[in-house]
Symmetry: C3
Subunit: 212 residues, 3 copies
Protein backbone atom coordinates (compact mmCIF):
# COMPACT_ATOMS: atom_id res chain seq x y z
CA UNK A 1 0.00 0.00 0.00
CA UNK A 2 2.64 2.43 1.12
CA UNK A 3 5.50 2.44 -1.34
CA UNK A 4 8.99 2.43 -0.01
CA UNK A 5 11.19 4.90 -1.82
CA UNK A 6 14.10 2.86 -3.21
CA UNK A 7 17.31 3.98 -1.53
CA UNK A 8 14.94 6.21 0.45
CA UNK A 9 16.56 5.95 3.89
CA UNK A 10 20.06 6.51 2.55
CA UNK A 11 18.88 9.44 0.43
CA UNK A 12 16.96 10.93 3.36
CA UNK A 13 20.09 10.87 5.51
CA UNK A 14 22.01 12.43 2.63
CA UNK A 15 19.35 15.14 2.43
CA UNK A 16 19.56 15.84 6.14
CA UNK A 17 23.34 16.03 5.94
CA UNK A 18 23.30 18.44 3.03
CA UNK A 19 20.65 20.61 4.65
CA UNK A 20 22.79 20.65 7.79
CA UNK A 21 25.77 21.83 5.75
CA UNK A 22 23.74 24.82 4.53
CA UNK A 23 22.72 25.61 8.11
CA UNK A 24 26.25 25.26 9.39
CA UNK A 25 27.48 27.57 6.64
CA UNK A 26 24.91 30.23 7.56
CA UNK A 27 26.06 29.98 11.19
CA UNK A 28 29.76 30.16 10.31
CA UNK A 29 29.09 33.29 8.26
CA UNK A 30 27.46 34.89 11.31
CA UNK A 31 30.53 33.85 13.36
CA UNK A 32 28.39 31.82 15.74
CA UNK A 33 30.24 29.55 18.17
CA UNK A 34 30.23 25.77 17.74
CA UNK A 35 26.95 25.41 19.61
CA UNK A 36 25.23 27.89 17.31
CA UNK A 37 26.62 26.02 14.31
CA UNK A 38 25.14 22.77 15.57
CA UNK A 39 21.74 24.36 16.23
CA UNK A 40 21.61 25.89 12.77
CA UNK A 41 22.69 22.59 11.22
CA UNK A 42 19.88 20.83 13.05
CA UNK A 43 17.36 23.48 12.07
CA UNK A 44 18.29 23.43 8.39
CA UNK A 45 18.57 19.65 8.12
CA UNK A 46 15.50 18.73 10.11
CA UNK A 47 13.30 21.85 10.19
CA UNK A 48 11.22 20.81 7.20
CA UNK A 49 10.40 17.46 8.75
CA UNK A 50 9.70 19.18 12.07
CA UNK A 51 7.06 21.43 10.51
CA UNK A 52 5.59 18.49 8.58
CA UNK A 53 5.25 16.34 11.69
CA UNK A 54 3.63 19.10 13.75
CA UNK A 55 1.16 19.80 10.92
CA UNK A 56 0.12 16.17 10.45
CA UNK A 57 0.20 15.23 14.12
CA UNK A 58 3.21 12.89 13.99
CA UNK A 59 4.20 13.54 17.61
CA UNK A 60 6.97 13.62 18.73
CA UNK A 61 8.52 14.81 15.44
CA UNK A 62 11.41 12.74 14.08
CA UNK A 63 13.50 15.91 14.21
CA UNK A 64 13.69 15.54 17.99
CA UNK A 65 13.08 11.81 18.39
CA UNK A 66 15.12 9.97 15.73
CA UNK A 67 18.69 9.85 17.02
CA UNK A 68 20.13 8.73 13.68
CA UNK A 69 18.60 11.74 11.93
CA UNK A 70 19.84 14.05 14.69
CA UNK A 71 23.37 12.66 14.67
CA UNK A 72 23.45 13.05 10.89
CA UNK A 73 22.44 16.70 11.12
CA UNK A 74 25.01 17.38 13.84
CA UNK A 75 27.69 15.65 11.77
CA UNK A 76 26.86 18.02 8.92
CA UNK A 77 27.24 20.97 11.27
CA UNK A 78 30.59 19.73 12.60
CA UNK A 79 31.85 19.11 9.08
CA UNK A 80 31.04 22.69 8.13
CA UNK A 81 32.51 24.01 11.40
CA UNK A 82 35.89 22.37 10.82
CA UNK A 83 36.15 22.35 7.04
CA UNK A 84 34.16 25.32 5.85
CA UNK A 85 36.89 26.98 3.75
CA UNK A 86 37.22 23.74 1.83
CA UNK A 87 33.48 23.05 1.73
CA UNK A 88 32.68 26.52 0.49
CA UNK A 89 34.79 25.79 -2.56
CA UNK A 90 32.70 22.65 -3.12
CA UNK A 91 29.54 24.73 -3.43
CA UNK A 92 28.58 23.35 -6.83
CA UNK A 93 28.65 19.82 -5.45
CA UNK A 94 26.65 20.90 -2.45
CA UNK A 95 24.05 22.61 -4.65
CA UNK A 96 23.58 19.39 -6.61
CA UNK A 97 23.23 17.36 -3.42
CA UNK A 98 20.78 19.96 -2.12
CA UNK A 99 18.67 19.50 -5.25
CA UNK A 100 18.63 15.78 -4.51
CA UNK A 101 17.52 16.33 -0.94
CA UNK A 102 14.84 18.80 -2.04
CA UNK A 103 13.46 16.15 -4.40
CA UNK A 104 13.51 13.38 -1.85
CA UNK A 105 12.14 15.45 1.03
CA UNK A 106 9.22 16.64 -1.11
CA UNK A 107 8.25 13.13 -2.17
CA UNK A 108 8.86 11.46 1.20
CA UNK A 109 7.04 14.29 3.00
CA UNK A 110 4.00 13.98 0.76
CA UNK A 111 3.83 10.23 1.29
CA UNK A 112 4.06 10.68 5.07
CA UNK A 113 1.25 13.23 4.91
CA UNK A 114 -0.90 10.75 2.98
CA UNK A 115 -0.08 7.99 5.46
CA UNK A 116 -1.37 10.22 8.26
CA UNK A 117 -4.67 10.70 6.40
CA UNK A 118 -4.16 14.40 5.92
CA UNK A 119 -5.99 14.49 2.59
CA UNK A 120 -4.55 15.27 -0.81
CA UNK A 121 -4.32 19.04 -0.50
CA UNK A 122 -2.67 18.95 2.92
CA UNK A 123 -0.28 16.22 1.77
CA UNK A 124 0.90 18.38 -1.13
CA UNK A 125 1.41 21.25 1.30
CA UNK A 126 3.37 19.24 3.83
CA UNK A 127 5.44 17.66 1.08
CA UNK A 128 6.45 21.09 -0.18
CA UNK A 129 7.07 22.30 3.37
CA UNK A 130 9.24 19.26 4.07
CA UNK A 131 11.33 20.24 1.07
CA UNK A 132 11.77 23.92 1.79
CA UNK A 133 11.06 24.23 5.56
CA UNK A 134 14.59 23.59 6.76
CA UNK A 135 15.89 26.53 4.80
CA UNK A 136 13.08 28.73 6.10
CA UNK A 137 13.86 27.88 9.72
CA UNK A 138 17.59 28.43 9.10
CA UNK A 139 16.88 31.88 7.70
CA UNK A 140 14.42 32.87 10.45
CA UNK A 141 17.00 31.95 13.12
CA UNK A 142 19.59 34.15 11.45
CA UNK A 143 17.09 37.02 11.05
CA UNK A 144 17.14 36.81 7.24
CA UNK A 145 14.24 36.89 4.82
CA UNK A 146 13.78 33.21 3.83
CA UNK A 147 15.81 32.59 0.69
CA UNK A 148 13.01 30.50 -0.79
CA UNK A 149 10.91 33.67 -1.11
CA UNK A 150 13.39 35.53 -3.25
CA UNK A 151 15.48 32.80 -4.88
CA UNK A 152 16.55 33.81 -8.32
CA UNK A 153 16.02 30.27 -9.61
CA UNK A 154 13.01 28.03 -9.07
CA UNK A 155 13.36 26.21 -5.78
CA UNK A 156 9.98 25.65 -4.18
CA UNK A 157 8.21 25.15 -7.50
CA UNK A 158 9.97 21.84 -8.27
CA UNK A 159 9.16 20.65 -4.75
CA UNK A 160 5.52 21.67 -5.17
CA UNK A 161 5.32 19.96 -8.55
CA UNK A 162 6.81 16.77 -7.11
CA UNK A 163 4.45 16.81 -4.14
CA UNK A 164 1.43 17.34 -6.39
CA UNK A 165 2.51 14.57 -8.75
CA UNK A 166 3.06 12.19 -5.85
CA UNK A 167 -0.40 12.91 -4.46
CA UNK A 168 -1.95 12.48 -7.90
CA UNK A 169 -0.25 9.10 -8.37
CA UNK A 170 -1.40 7.99 -4.92
CA UNK A 171 -4.98 9.05 -5.63
CA UNK A 172 -5.05 7.16 -8.89
CA UNK A 173 -3.44 4.08 -7.41
CA UNK A 174 -0.34 4.44 -9.55
CA UNK A 175 2.14 5.21 -6.78
CA UNK A 176 4.63 2.35 -6.82
CA UNK A 177 8.32 2.09 -6.07
CA UNK A 178 9.04 2.79 -9.72
CA UNK A 179 6.79 5.84 -10.10
CA UNK A 180 7.96 7.21 -6.77
CA UNK A 181 11.57 7.01 -7.90
CA UNK A 182 10.56 8.63 -11.17
CA UNK A 183 9.04 11.63 -9.39
CA UNK A 184 12.18 12.06 -7.30
CA UNK A 185 14.27 12.07 -10.45
CA UNK A 186 11.92 14.54 -12.15
CA UNK A 187 12.07 17.02 -9.27
CA UNK A 188 15.84 16.65 -9.11
CA UNK A 189 16.13 17.27 -12.86
CA UNK A 190 13.79 20.26 -12.74
CA UNK A 191 15.79 21.87 -9.95
CA UNK A 192 19.07 21.22 -11.78
CA UNK A 193 17.58 22.66 -14.96
CA UNK A 194 16.43 25.73 -13.04
CA UNK A 195 19.99 26.27 -11.79
CA UNK A 196 21.59 25.54 -15.18
CA UNK A 197 19.28 27.69 -17.30
CA UNK A 198 18.39 30.28 -14.65
CA UNK A 199 14.68 29.47 -14.76
CA UNK A 200 12.80 31.79 -12.45
CA UNK A 201 9.25 32.68 -11.51
CA UNK A 202 7.98 35.96 -12.95
CA UNK A 203 9.26 38.89 -10.88
CA UNK A 204 7.37 41.98 -9.76
CA UNK A 205 4.64 42.91 -12.21
CA UNK A 206 4.80 46.52 -13.24
CA UNK A 207 4.23 46.62 -16.98
CA UNK A 208 8.01 46.28 -17.22
CA UNK A 209 9.71 44.16 -14.60
CA UNK A 210 12.29 45.09 -12.04
CA UNK A 211 14.45 42.46 -10.46
CA UNK A 212 16.30 43.00 -7.26
Amino acid sequence: MVPEVPFGPAMELAGIFVGALSGGLAAVRKTFDVFGVLVLAWAAGLGGGLMRDVLIGAIPPVAIANWLFIVTALAGGLAMYFFHPRLVRARRTIAVLDAGSLALFAVVGTIKGLQYDSGLVAAVFVGTITGVGGGVLRDLLTAEVPAVLHHRELYAVPALAGAALTALLWETGLLTNATTALVVVLVFALRLAAMRFHLSAPGPWQGRRKRR
Copy 2:
Protein backbone atom coordinates in the same frame (compact mmCIF):
# COMPACT_ATOMS: atom_id res chain seq x y z
CA MET B 1 -25.13 23.97 20.90
CA VAL B 2 -22.52 25.46 18.63
CA PRO B 3 -23.81 28.66 17.11
CA GLU B 4 -23.26 29.27 13.47
CA VAL B 5 -22.04 32.76 12.78
CA PRO B 6 -24.57 34.30 10.36
CA PHE B 7 -22.87 35.01 7.06
CA GLY B 8 -19.90 33.36 8.75
CA PRO B 9 -18.50 31.36 5.83
CA ALA B 10 -18.79 34.27 3.41
CA MET B 11 -17.21 36.64 5.93
CA GLU B 12 -14.45 34.17 6.71
CA LEU B 13 -13.54 33.92 3.04
CA ALA B 14 -13.62 37.71 2.84
CA GLY B 15 -11.29 37.84 5.83
CA ILE B 16 -8.86 35.40 4.26
CA PHE B 17 -8.92 37.37 1.01
CA VAL B 18 -8.23 40.67 2.75
CA GLY B 19 -5.48 39.16 4.87
CA ALA B 20 -3.96 37.74 1.69
CA LEU B 21 -4.00 41.21 0.12
CA SER B 22 -1.93 42.52 3.03
CA GLY B 23 0.52 39.65 2.63
CA GLY B 24 0.74 40.15 -1.12
CA LEU B 25 1.39 43.85 -0.60
CA ALA B 26 4.24 43.13 1.82
CA ALA B 27 5.75 40.75 -0.75
CA VAL B 28 5.38 43.21 -3.63
CA ARG B 29 7.13 45.86 -1.54
CA LYS B 30 10.06 43.47 -1.03
CA THR B 31 10.05 42.85 -4.83
CA PHE B 32 9.50 39.11 -4.33
CA ASP B 33 8.63 37.10 -7.43
CA VAL B 34 5.13 35.75 -8.02
CA PHE B 35 5.81 32.65 -5.96
CA GLY B 36 6.92 34.72 -2.97
CA VAL B 37 3.79 36.85 -3.35
CA LEU B 38 1.59 33.75 -3.21
CA VAL B 39 3.39 32.40 -0.14
CA LEU B 40 3.06 35.69 1.72
CA ALA B 41 -0.62 35.92 0.72
CA TRP B 42 -1.18 32.43 2.09
CA ALA B 43 0.73 33.20 5.29
CA ALA B 44 -1.13 36.43 5.97
CA GLY B 45 -4.56 35.10 5.07
CA LEU B 46 -4.33 31.75 6.79
CA GLY B 47 -1.49 32.06 9.32
CA GLY B 48 -3.79 32.94 12.20
CA GLY B 49 -5.95 29.89 11.60
CA LEU B 50 -2.82 27.77 11.20
CA MET B 51 -1.53 28.75 14.64
CA ARG B 52 -4.99 28.25 16.15
CA ASP B 53 -5.35 24.75 14.72
CA VAL B 54 -1.89 23.65 15.87
CA LEU B 55 -2.58 25.00 19.37
CA ILE B 56 -5.95 23.27 19.75
CA GLY B 57 -4.98 20.06 17.98
CA ALA B 58 -7.18 20.52 14.89
CA ILE B 59 -4.90 18.46 12.64
CA PRO B 60 -4.37 18.93 9.75
CA PRO B 61 -4.97 22.70 9.96
CA VAL B 62 -7.52 24.16 7.55
CA ALA B 63 -4.74 26.42 6.28
CA ILE B 64 -3.23 23.44 4.47
CA ALA B 65 -6.28 21.20 4.09
CA ASN B 66 -9.23 23.37 3.01
CA TRP B 67 -8.81 23.99 -0.71
CA LEU B 68 -11.45 26.72 -0.84
CA PHE B 69 -9.62 28.69 1.85
CA ILE B 70 -6.30 28.16 0.09
CA VAL B 71 -7.64 29.18 -3.32
CA THR B 72 -9.13 32.31 -1.74
CA ALA B 73 -5.80 33.27 -0.20
CA LEU B 74 -3.94 32.66 -3.46
CA ALA B 75 -6.55 34.73 -5.34
CA GLY B 76 -5.84 37.60 -2.95
CA GLY B 77 -2.14 37.25 -3.65
CA LEU B 78 -2.65 37.21 -7.42
CA ALA B 79 -4.94 40.24 -7.20
CA MET B 80 -2.24 42.17 -5.38
CA TYR B 81 0.44 40.93 -7.75
CA PHE B 82 -1.37 42.19 -10.84
CA PHE B 83 -3.22 45.22 -9.51
CA HIS B 84 -1.14 46.53 -6.66
CA PRO B 85 -0.79 50.14 -7.86
CA ARG B 86 -4.56 50.35 -7.99
CA LEU B 87 -5.11 48.36 -4.79
CA VAL B 88 -2.67 50.49 -2.86
CA ARG B 89 -4.84 53.50 -3.64
CA ALA B 90 -7.80 51.56 -2.20
CA ARG B 91 -6.05 51.24 1.14
CA ARG B 92 -8.89 52.84 3.11
CA THR B 93 -11.30 50.24 1.77
CA ILE B 94 -8.82 47.48 2.52
CA ALA B 95 -8.34 48.74 6.08
CA VAL B 96 -12.09 48.61 6.65
CA LEU B 97 -12.29 45.09 5.24
CA ASP B 98 -9.33 44.12 7.40
CA ALA B 99 -11.19 45.36 10.47
CA GLY B 100 -14.08 43.12 9.44
CA SER B 101 -11.83 40.10 9.08
CA LEU B 102 -10.13 40.82 12.40
CA ALA B 103 -13.56 40.82 14.06
CA LEU B 104 -14.74 37.66 12.42
CA PHE B 105 -11.50 35.73 12.84
CA ALA B 106 -11.41 36.56 16.56
CA VAL B 107 -14.96 35.36 17.15
CA VAL B 108 -14.80 32.32 14.88
CA GLY B 109 -11.41 31.36 16.31
CA THR B 110 -12.68 31.54 19.88
CA ILE B 111 -15.69 29.38 19.05
CA LYS B 112 -13.48 26.79 17.37
CA GLY B 113 -11.25 26.75 20.46
CA LEU B 114 -14.28 26.15 22.65
CA GLN B 115 -15.51 23.38 20.34
CA TYR B 116 -12.18 21.62 20.79
CA ASP B 117 -12.57 21.75 24.57
CA SER B 118 -9.56 23.99 25.07
CA GLY B 119 -11.08 25.73 28.09
CA LEU B 120 -12.07 29.37 28.39
CA VAL B 121 -8.63 30.91 28.82
CA ALA B 122 -7.11 29.01 25.92
CA ALA B 123 -10.10 29.79 23.72
CA VAL B 124 -9.66 33.51 24.31
CA PHE B 125 -5.99 33.16 23.43
CA VAL B 126 -6.58 31.22 20.24
CA GLY B 127 -9.35 33.60 19.22
CA THR B 128 -6.99 36.55 19.55
CA ILE B 129 -4.22 34.64 17.78
CA THR B 130 -6.60 33.75 14.94
CA GLY B 131 -7.27 37.46 14.52
CA VAL B 132 -3.70 38.72 14.57
CA GLY B 133 -1.59 35.65 13.73
CA GLY B 134 -1.68 36.05 9.96
CA GLY B 135 -0.09 39.47 10.21
CA VAL B 136 2.54 38.15 12.61
CA LEU B 137 3.53 35.33 10.25
CA ARG B 138 3.60 37.77 7.31
CA ASP B 139 5.97 40.06 9.23
CA LEU B 140 8.23 37.24 10.46
CA LEU B 141 8.65 35.97 6.89
CA THR B 142 9.70 39.42 5.71
CA ALA B 143 12.09 39.84 8.68
CA GLU B 144 10.04 42.69 10.17
CA VAL B 145 9.03 43.26 13.76
CA PRO B 146 5.35 42.18 13.82
CA ALA B 147 3.21 45.28 13.21
CA VAL B 148 0.73 44.20 15.88
CA LEU B 149 3.42 44.87 18.52
CA HIS B 150 3.92 48.50 17.59
CA HIS B 151 0.70 49.50 15.84
CA ARG B 152 -0.12 53.08 16.53
CA GLU B 153 -3.82 52.25 16.80
CA LEU B 154 -5.42 49.47 18.81
CA TYR B 155 -5.43 46.29 16.77
CA ALA B 156 -5.05 43.26 18.99
CA VAL B 157 -7.05 44.77 21.83
CA PRO B 158 -10.36 44.72 19.91
CA ALA B 159 -9.67 41.11 18.93
CA LEU B 160 -8.89 40.21 22.54
CA ALA B 161 -12.02 41.95 23.78
CA GLY B 162 -14.14 40.12 21.21
CA ALA B 163 -12.61 36.78 22.09
CA ALA B 164 -13.15 37.34 25.80
CA LEU B 165 -16.74 38.42 25.26
CA THR B 166 -17.43 35.39 23.08
CA ALA B 167 -16.03 33.05 25.73
CA LEU B 168 -18.05 34.79 28.42
CA LEU B 169 -21.27 34.44 26.44
CA TRP B 170 -20.51 30.76 25.81
CA GLU B 171 -19.82 30.12 29.49
CA THR B 172 -23.10 31.78 30.53
CA GLY B 173 -25.08 29.99 27.84
CA LEU B 174 -25.90 33.24 26.06
CA LEU B 175 -23.94 32.59 22.87
CA THR B 176 -26.52 32.49 20.08
CA ASN B 177 -26.49 33.49 16.46
CA ALA B 178 -27.67 36.94 17.46
CA THR B 179 -25.15 37.57 20.25
CA THR B 180 -22.35 36.15 18.12
CA ALA B 181 -23.16 38.58 15.33
CA LEU B 182 -23.32 41.36 17.91
CA VAL B 183 -19.80 40.61 19.13
CA VAL B 184 -18.50 40.64 15.58
CA VAL B 185 -20.09 44.04 15.04
CA LEU B 186 -18.69 45.36 18.31
CA VAL B 187 -15.13 44.32 17.50
CA PHE B 188 -15.48 45.76 14.01
CA ALA B 189 -16.77 49.06 15.43
CA LEU B 190 -14.03 49.19 18.07
CA ARG B 191 -11.32 48.69 15.47
CA LEU B 192 -12.88 51.32 13.17
CA ALA B 193 -13.14 53.74 16.10
CA ALA B 194 -9.48 53.08 16.95
CA MET B 195 -8.51 53.98 13.38
CA ARG B 196 -10.81 57.01 13.20
CA PHE B 197 -9.93 58.52 16.57
CA HIS B 198 -6.34 57.23 16.78
CA LEU B 199 -7.00 55.26 19.96
CA SER B 200 -3.80 53.64 21.15
CA ALA B 201 -2.45 51.68 24.08
CA PRO B 202 -0.24 53.66 26.48
CA GLY B 203 3.28 53.94 25.08
CA PRO B 204 6.57 53.59 26.92
CA TRP B 205 6.29 54.63 30.55
CA GLN B 206 8.97 57.07 31.57
CA GLY B 207 7.29 59.68 33.70
CA ARG B 208 6.72 61.53 30.45
CA ARG B 209 6.11 59.40 27.41
CA LYS B 210 8.06 59.08 24.24
CA ARG B 211 6.44 57.68 21.14
CA ARG B 212 8.39 56.34 18.26
Copy 3:
Protein backbone atom coordinates in the same frame (compact mmCIF):
# COMPACT_ATOMS: atom_id res chain seq x y z
CA MET C 1 6.74 7.09 39.46
CA VAL C 2 6.84 10.69 38.38
CA PRO C 3 8.93 12.70 40.77
CA GLU C 4 7.65 16.03 41.89
CA VAL C 5 10.34 18.66 41.82
CA PRO C 6 10.59 20.03 45.36
CA PHE C 7 9.53 23.67 45.37
CA GLY C 8 8.81 22.99 41.70
CA PRO C 9 5.61 24.97 41.27
CA ALA C 10 6.98 28.01 43.10
CA MET C 11 10.24 27.83 41.15
CA GLU C 12 8.37 27.42 37.86
CA LEU C 13 6.35 30.55 38.54
CA ALA C 14 9.58 32.34 39.44
CA GLY C 15 11.07 31.16 36.16
CA ILE C 16 8.10 32.43 34.17
CA PHE C 17 8.26 35.78 35.97
CA VAL C 18 11.97 36.21 35.30
CA GLY C 19 11.58 35.17 31.67
CA ALA C 20 8.77 37.70 31.36
CA LEU C 21 11.04 40.42 32.75
CA SER C 22 13.54 39.72 29.97
CA GLY C 23 10.76 39.89 27.39
CA GLY C 24 9.37 43.09 28.84
CA LEU C 25 12.83 44.63 28.79
CA ALA C 26 13.30 43.75 25.11
CA ALA C 27 9.93 45.37 24.36
CA VAL C 28 10.69 48.51 26.38
CA ARG C 29 13.95 48.88 24.48
CA LYS C 30 12.04 48.78 21.20
CA THR C 31 9.66 51.41 22.65
CA PHE C 32 6.66 49.12 22.20
CA ASP C 33 3.41 50.23 23.83
CA VAL C 34 2.06 48.48 26.92
CA PHE C 35 0.32 45.83 24.83
CA GLY C 36 3.53 44.96 23.04
CA VAL C 37 5.32 44.76 26.39
CA LEU C 38 2.75 42.26 27.66
CA VAL C 39 3.00 40.13 24.53
CA LEU C 40 6.78 39.99 24.72
CA ALA C 41 6.61 39.17 28.41
CA TRP C 42 4.24 36.32 27.66
CA ALA C 43 6.41 35.07 24.79
CA ALA C 44 9.62 35.12 26.81
CA GLY C 45 8.11 33.65 29.97
CA LEU C 46 6.01 30.96 28.37
CA GLY C 47 7.42 30.45 24.86
CA GLY C 48 9.66 27.56 25.90
CA GLY C 49 6.76 25.69 27.43
CA LEU C 50 4.63 26.49 24.40
CA MET C 51 7.12 24.86 22.03
CA ARG C 52 7.52 21.89 24.37
CA ASP C 53 3.78 21.27 24.57
CA VAL C 54 3.27 21.50 20.81
CA LEU C 55 6.17 19.08 20.25
CA ILE C 56 4.96 16.46 22.73
CA GLY C 57 1.25 16.86 21.98
CA ALA C 58 0.21 18.41 25.29
CA ILE C 59 -2.74 20.29 23.77
CA PRO C 60 -3.76 22.98 24.58
CA PRO C 61 -0.34 24.20 25.79
CA VAL C 62 -0.17 25.53 29.34
CA ALA C 63 1.12 28.79 27.86
CA ILE C 64 -2.41 29.56 26.67
CA ALA C 65 -4.45 27.45 29.08
CA ASN C 66 -3.01 27.89 32.59
CA TRP C 67 -4.30 31.21 33.88
CA LEU C 68 -1.89 31.31 36.83
CA PHE C 69 1.10 30.95 34.48
CA ILE C 70 -0.33 33.60 32.17
CA VAL C 71 -1.04 36.07 34.98
CA THR C 72 2.50 35.55 36.28
CA ALA C 73 3.99 36.33 32.87
CA LEU C 74 1.83 39.42 32.45
CA ALA C 75 2.80 40.58 35.95
CA GLY C 76 6.44 40.32 34.91
CA GLY C 77 5.68 42.43 31.85
CA LEU C 78 3.85 45.08 33.87
CA ALA C 79 6.67 45.20 36.42
CA MET C 80 9.17 45.87 33.65
CA TYR C 81 6.85 48.40 32.00
CA PHE C 82 6.50 50.50 35.14
CA PHE C 83 9.85 49.98 36.86
CA HIS C 84 12.31 49.30 34.08
CA PRO C 85 14.87 52.00 34.97
CA ARG C 86 15.09 50.48 38.43
CA LEU C 87 14.95 46.87 37.20
CA VAL C 88 17.67 47.46 34.65
CA ARG C 89 19.97 48.41 37.48
CA ALA C 90 19.11 45.07 39.12
CA ARG C 91 20.38 43.15 36.11
CA ARG C 92 22.81 41.06 38.11
CA THR C 93 19.98 39.82 40.32
CA ILE C 94 17.86 39.14 37.28
CA ALA C 95 20.66 37.18 35.61
CA VAL C 96 20.93 34.96 38.68
CA LEU C 97 17.18 34.41 38.75
CA ASP C 98 17.28 33.67 35.04
CA ALA C 99 19.90 30.99 35.66
CA GLY C 100 17.53 29.48 38.19
CA SER C 101 14.65 29.46 35.76
CA LEU C 102 16.84 27.97 33.02
CA ALA C 103 17.76 25.13 35.37
CA LEU C 104 14.23 24.46 36.47
CA PHE C 105 12.65 24.76 33.02
CA ALA C 106 15.17 22.31 31.56
CA VAL C 107 14.53 19.69 34.24
CA VAL C 108 10.75 20.17 34.43
CA GLY C 109 10.51 20.18 30.63
CA THR C 110 12.43 16.94 30.32
CA ILE C 111 10.23 15.24 32.90
CA LYS C 112 7.09 16.41 31.10
CA GLY C 113 8.48 15.03 27.85
CA LEU C 114 9.12 11.68 29.52
CA GLN C 115 5.63 11.68 31.00
CA TYR C 116 4.19 12.10 27.50
CA ASP C 117 6.14 9.04 26.31
CA SER C 118 8.27 11.03 23.90
CA GLY C 119 11.29 8.79 24.33
CA LEU C 120 14.66 9.71 25.83
CA VAL C 121 16.11 11.64 22.91
CA ALA C 122 12.99 13.73 22.36
CA ALA C 123 12.69 14.39 26.10
CA VAL C 124 16.22 15.79 26.21
CA PHE C 125 15.39 18.00 23.24
CA VAL C 126 12.15 19.32 24.69
CA GLY C 127 13.81 19.89 28.06
CA THR C 128 16.48 22.03 26.43
CA ILE C 129 13.88 23.81 24.31
CA THR C 130 11.79 24.52 27.41
CA GLY C 131 14.84 26.17 28.92
CA VAL C 132 15.88 28.32 25.99
CA GLY C 133 12.71 28.59 23.85
CA GLY C 134 11.24 31.63 25.56
CA GLY C 135 14.31 33.68 24.74
CA VAL C 136 14.24 32.45 21.15
CA LEU C 137 10.61 33.49 20.67
CA ARG C 138 11.31 36.86 22.32
CA ASP C 139 14.18 37.49 19.90
CA LEU C 140 12.25 36.34 16.82
CA LEU C 141 9.38 38.71 17.66
CA THR C 142 11.80 41.62 17.93
CA ALA C 143 13.54 40.61 14.67
CA GLU C 144 16.82 39.81 16.42
CA VAL C 145 19.10 36.82 15.96
CA PRO C 146 18.29 34.60 18.97
CA ALA C 147 20.75 35.46 21.75
CA VAL C 148 21.18 31.79 22.62
CA LEU C 149 22.97 31.29 19.28
CA HIS C 150 25.68 33.85 19.94
CA HIS C 151 25.82 34.14 23.72
CA ARG C 152 29.29 34.83 24.88
CA GLU C 153 28.82 32.54 27.89
CA LEU C 154 27.40 29.02 27.93
CA TYR C 155 23.63 29.19 28.13
CA ALA C 156 22.03 26.31 26.28
CA VAL C 157 24.79 23.87 27.18
CA PRO C 158 23.90 23.81 30.90
CA ALA C 159 20.25 23.30 29.96
CA LEU C 160 21.19 20.48 27.59
CA ALA C 161 23.42 18.86 30.22
CA GLY C 162 20.62 19.05 32.78
CA ALA C 163 18.08 17.59 30.39
CA ALA C 164 20.40 14.74 29.45
CA LEU C 165 21.20 13.99 33.09
CA THR C 166 17.50 14.01 33.98
CA ALA C 167 16.70 11.57 31.17
CA LEU C 168 19.59 9.34 32.20
CA LEU C 169 18.41 9.25 35.81
CA TRP C 170 14.87 8.45 34.65
CA GLU C 171 16.08 5.64 32.42
CA THR C 172 18.12 4.08 35.20
CA GLY C 173 15.31 4.42 37.73
CA LEU C 174 17.31 6.86 39.84
CA LEU C 175 15.15 9.94 39.30
CA THR C 176 13.80 10.83 42.73
CA ASN C 177 12.89 14.10 44.41
CA ALA C 178 16.43 14.30 45.72
CA THR C 179 18.26 13.61 42.45
CA THR C 180 15.89 15.91 40.57
CA ALA C 181 16.69 18.74 42.93
CA LEU C 182 20.36 17.93 42.56
CA VAL C 183 20.22 18.27 38.77
CA VAL C 184 18.48 21.63 39.09
CA VAL C 185 21.23 22.82 41.42
CA LEU C 186 23.94 21.51 39.08
CA VAL C 187 22.52 23.31 36.04
CA PHE C 188 22.11 26.48 38.10
CA ALA C 189 25.70 26.25 39.31
CA LEU C 190 27.03 25.53 35.82
CA ARG C 191 25.27 28.57 34.39
CA LEU C 192 26.48 30.78 37.23
CA ALA C 193 30.02 29.47 36.74
CA ALA C 194 29.76 30.21 33.02
CA MET C 195 28.80 33.80 33.81
CA ARG C 196 31.40 34.21 36.53
CA PHE C 197 34.35 32.70 34.65
CA HIS C 198 33.23 33.60 31.12
CA LEU C 199 33.08 29.99 30.00
CA SER C 200 32.14 29.82 26.35
CA ALA C 201 31.82 27.31 23.55
CA PRO C 202 34.64 27.36 20.99
CA GLY C 203 34.13 30.19 18.52
CA PRO C 204 34.61 30.12 14.75
CA TRP C 205 37.28 27.64 13.74
CA GLN C 206 39.88 29.13 11.43
CA GLY C 207 43.23 27.85 12.58
CA ARG C 208 43.31 30.91 14.84
CA ARG C 209 39.97 32.01 16.20
CA LYS C 210 38.12 35.24 15.72
CA ARG C 211 35.44 36.27 18.16
CA ARG C 212 32.81 38.80 17.33
